[in-house]
Each structure stands twice: as C-alpha cells, then as structure tokens.
C-alpha cells in the first residue's frame, strides 16, 4: 500500500508538473491580455505531433523535443501577430468563437498532415526501463519528466519573480494600464509571452507523448484541466498556476488510484466498483467548484 501511494504520488507530481507547463502560458495570456484562448490545447497537440515527427526523422528524442519547441514558438508568434492580437480588446464571447474555430482548424490540419490514427512515440531507449528507487522500481522516463518539469518550473518561477521581464509580466497581469504608463512595450511583451507559452505547450506535448497517445483531440481534455488549474490558482498568477497544477495533478492521480480501494473498505464491492471511478474522475471539478464557492477569485488572485 505504501509503495502504491508513493508511486502514485510521484505520478501525480509528474502529471502536475506537465499541467503547469500548459497552465503557465494559459494563465499569463489570460491574466495579462484578458484573453480566453481555447486553442492553447492545440499548441500542445501541435507540439506533440511535431515532436513525434521530428523524433522519427532524426532518430533523437532530444532533437525532436527542441525542434518541436522551436517550431511551436514560431507558430505561436505567427498566430499572435496575425490573429490573436486582434482579439485582445474584444468581448470574451468573440474570443471563444475565434479560438474554438482555431481548435477545429488545428485538428483538421493535423489530420491532413498525419492522418487520423494516433502516432507512436517511444521514450529514449536508454530511459525506457525502470530504475530502483527506495526499494521499488519506477519508470526512468517518468523520473526524467519530473526532473525536466521541476527545472523548467523553477526557471520560469525565477524568470517571473526575479527578472525585469518578469516584473513587466506581473505588472501587466495585475494592472495593464499601469504597465503601459510605465512605458513597457506591451505589444512585444505579449508576443514574447505567447511564444514562451507555445514552447512550453510543445514541451509538455512531447514529454507526455510516450505516456499518452499522440492523437487528434488530445488537446481538448487537457485544455479543460489547464483551465481548472488556473481558475483554482487565480487567473494571472504563476504561483497560483504552480500550486493549482500540483493540486490537480495529485488529487486526480491519487483519487483514481486509491479511491476505489478506499471505497471498498467502507461500502459493498459492487457499489465501490461503480462509484469509485465516478467520484475519482470528478474530484478535481469538485475541488474547483468548492474553491470558487469559498474563494470566488481563486487561491492567489493576481489583481487586487
């Protein structure tokens, strides 16, 4: 049991860190530009496909990863300059319409290029096996994800909290007019934030690729999870996104793994078998509804 809990806690941490890569970009775009970007999940899907294709072509996972991050950053910049920039000042509903349209387009483009069947993406060969860890074995690849996740999350945190650029970003998130008065080039800042967000999406996409299927529509479910994360954490707050990601990642993973067992100890097996998965899959939504009920602005509101 203890081993199961530790293993699942690690899985939860790993999933939470990947969610953070998505949520970080989403929360900044949302917080600074007041923009609902439903197509954020499509960047993640695009990153996974691009990464898988580049890995196959080059034979190197690392090259695949870097190519996909660079490629999606470029696509992100193009998207921001040609289209999304025009939507910042618009109504949320128009943003929903336009970015939902982008989801449709992105899914079809991916289908045109790679077909409807899921792509296979293998983890690097030397990381495919398990490693011994505190007396039990744990997949090496998942440890890599955790390591990369912690590194990137740390760097991002430092970038936002310790650097001048980060200060601009935070100023923009909490008070946009003020940022403009301070003479920050908000336009360029937006483009930069968007490119960074897209690259992080791509990173999450290719890292999760070997664990989940690389397929059309993979962005939709994770998009909603990312929204749950940033709403829990407070829109526009990097710290909130981090805490929210880890919360959602671990609650979801641990809930799915442990809840059926726990229920079996208190109710009839048949009921536990039915209810366990049902409750486990809605836990994070219950969490979000609960948090919004008691703290309607999320845990760490970015705006005063």
């Amino acid at each position: 049991m203890t081993q199961l809990v530790i293993e699942q806690a690690l899985n939860g941490l790993q999933f939470g860190l990947m969610l953070f890569l998505l949520a970080a970009g989403l929360t900044l775009v949302f917080g600074i530009m007041d923009m609902i970007n439903l197509s954020h999940g499509s960047l993640y899907m695009g990153g996974a496909y691009l990464g898988a294709a580049a890995t196959h072509a080059s034979g190197s996972f690392l090259i695949g990863m870097l190519t996909s991050m660079a490629g999606m950053a470029v696509i992100g910049v193009l998207l921001e300059i040609t289209l999304l920039r025009k939507l910042y000042q618009r109504d949320h509903l128009v943003q929903v319409l336009a970015t939902f349209a982008l989801i449709l387009i992105a899914n079809e483009v991916v289908r045109m290029l790679w077909g409807s069947k899921p792509l296979m993406l293998n983890p690097p060969a030397n990381l495919a096996g398990p490693v011994e860890l505190l007396g039990f074995s744990y997949p090496a690849y998942r440890l890599l994800i955790i390591a990369v996740g912690i590194t990137v999350a740390g760097l991002l945190y430092l970038l936002v909290t310790r650097t001048r650029t980060g200060m601009w970003v935070r100023a923009g998130a909490s008070n946009r007019e003020m940022a403009e008065v301070l003479g920050i080039n908000v336009r360029r800042l937006f483009t930069g934030v968007f490119a960074l967000g897209a690259a992080l999406c791509a990173l999450a996409g290719i890292l999760l690729g070997p664990l989940l299927a690389v397929q059309v529509g993979m962005g939709e479910s994770i998009l909603i999870l990312s929204f749950v994360v940033i709403v829990i954490g407070g829109i526009g707050s990097i710290r909130g996104a981090l805490i929210g990601s880890l919360l959602v990642g671990s609650v979801d993973t641990l809930g799915r793994a442990l809840l059926p067992t726990l229920l079996r100890s208190v109710t009839a097996p048949e009921i536990a078998r039915q209810l366990g998965p049902a409750i486990a899959s809605i836990l994070i939504y219950l969490l979000m509804a609960g948090i919004l009920f008691w703290r309607p602005q999320g845990l760490f509101p970015a705006r005063g």
Partner: protein, 310 residues
C-alpha cells in the same frame, strides 16, 4: 423591420417549415427529414442557451450538461419501461430544472470568467459521473429501443417527430418573445446593462438571474429529450464540454441576444457541416475558417447583419 412585415415574414417561414417534409417526401429525399429535425433540435438547444447568454447576460459554458441530462433521463426511463412521452419528457424537464437550480444557485455566486469556468466544471462533473456509471452505458451511451410514444401522435414516424419538434421550437420562440418584453424580460435587460444599478433599485438580482438560468437550462433539457429520440441514443458526447462549446459557438455565430440568433447559428453550422461534408473529408477545417471570419469581421453574429438586438 416593421412589426407587420415581420409577422408576415415569420408566418411565411413557419408555413415553409411546416410543409418542408411533404416537399422532401415528394422529392423522395426522406433522409433529409431526419436531418431537418436535427437542425430544429439544435436550434432549440441554441435558442435556450441564447436566453441565458444573450438575455440574461450570463456566459454559461456548461449547457451540454442540461442538453445531455434531458437525453439521458428519457433513455433511463425507456430502460425502466416508461415509454410515454407524456410522462418521460416532463420528468426530463423536471430533472433538468432541478439540476439547473442547484448548479445555478452555486455558480451565480461567481461572475465573469469564473462563472464560465464553474458552469464548465459542473458540466464536466456530470459528464464523468455518467460515463463511469455502467447503468448509463459508460462510453457507449444508452440506446433507446424505440422512440417515446406521444399518443395520439406516432413519433416513430419521422415526419411526426419533425412536426412535434417544430411545434415545440415555435412555442418556445413565441414564449421567449413574450418573456423578453415582459416585466421579467425588461428586468433582465436592465441586469445585462448595469447590475449595480439594478441592485441599487432594489431588484432581487440573484433570483432574477437564477430564474433565467433555470428557464434556459430546462428548455435545453427538452432539446436533449428530443435529440435522444431522434438519434435513438443518449450519447456521452452530448455532455462533453465540446458540445457546450459547439452550442455557444452556434449562439455567437447566429447572434447573441437576437431572437433568432440560436436558430440561425444552429442551422448555419450544421448546414455547413452537411454541405461541406459532401465535398471534403476535412469539413471542420472550412467551418473553422468561416467561424474565424465571423469572429473577426462580424463579431455581433449573423443576425447583427440585419435587424435590432432584443
């Protein structure tokens, strides 16, 4: 548009909609009767969402919950042996209304973006609850062994189902028209424009919004009950968030707050899907382009190209 002209136009459209299945039968294109029914059902669903979004000013991103619940209640009752629409449909409405009261009462504590997200959260909860229940058929959904019976009418006949749907849509549009000009509807108009002022005038703001939310959601449940009959299946995809997104897109496409916004949006979107589907495997690509163009160049939706917002 002048009132009298409008009434004439509406009467003509209604007449055309009534005789449409007869024409299709005469042309031997019976398949399109089912398709037309589907259009009307989605028109009803989008209209009900437009009532919440456009009239009540609440951007709800969880309409699929009510749409799907209506469908599942009918399917459940069918499994339990209740085939009569006279019982099953009102029960579906009742269940949807109840769910809407609970979800609305909690969600309306938040506003703006947070309201969008909390309604989404509730819808996802219902989605995951239903697909994990084996009695609900899990991922496969719950098939209907037959259509509901609506004696003395024979719903098994596609044309009758079409006319039933058309009557319900017409009745709802008529009712919403009355509501929008009533005291309640005017209060909603005030709410949409300035909630602070409504509060200061002493309106029970929370209750007004809740009633609007429940009315719209319940009509969404009715649309779901109809769709289960038309599809012969209560499918989990009806409950998924992309369905909420689709309905919202229909409303925005048609025109938020316009009387026929939901109808125009649903017919345009599903019509495009059908027509493009004949020429290309990638119809959603082109639909995406159309939606993008609307978002950029006519953000008020198609209905804003002519006519006044309610």
């Amino acid at each position: 548009m002048k009132r009298s002209r409008r009434i004439v136009l509406e009467a003509c459209l209604l007449l055309a909609a009534i005789v449409l299945p007869l024409i299709l039968q005469a042309l031997g294109e019976d398949f399109y009767i089912s398709f037309a029914t589907r259009l009307l059902i989605f028109a009803l669903a989008a209209t009900s969402l437009n009532f919440i979004v456009g009239y009540g000013g609440m951007v709800a991103f969880g309409h699929a919950a009510f749409f799907g619940l209506g469908a599942y209640v009918v399917a459940f009752l069918m499994v339990a042996g209740v085939t009569s629409a006279w019982i099953a449909w009102p029960v579906a409405l009742g269940v949807t209304a109840l769910a809407a009261i609970v979800i609305g009462a909690i969600s309306l504590r938040t506003r703006g973006v947070y309201f969008i997200m909390i309604t989404l959260a509730f819808a996802q909860m219902i989605y995951y609850s239903i697909i994990s229940l084996q009695v609900a058929g899990g991922d496969d959904g719950l098939p209907l062994i037959q259509r509901s019976t609506l004696s003395p009418f024979d719903l098994a006949d596609d044309t009758t189902l079409y006319w039933t749907t058309l009557s319900l849509l017409a009745a709802c549009l008529h009712a919403l028209q009355h509501i929008s000009h009533s005291r309640f509807g005017r209060a909603l108009a005030g709410l949409r424009q300035n909630e602070v002022r409504m509060e200061a005038l002493g309106y029970p703001v929370f209750r007004l919004k809740l009633v609007c939310f429940v009315v719209g959601s319940t009509i969404g449940g009715l649309a779901g009950a109809l769709l289960a009959n038309q599809n012969g299946l209560a499918s989990p995809s009806l409950l998924y968030w992309t369905q909420s997104g689709m309905l919202l897109v229909m409303v925005i496409l048609g025109g938020v707050g316009y009387r026929y916004g939901g109808v125009v949006g649903a017919i345009t979107l599903l019509g495009l899907e059908e027509v493009l589907g004949r020429f290309t495997e990638y119809s959603h690509f082109f639909i995406g382009l159309v939606l993008l163009a609307i978002a950029l160049f006519s953000p008020g939706g198609l209905a804003s190209l002519r006519g006044q917002r309610q």
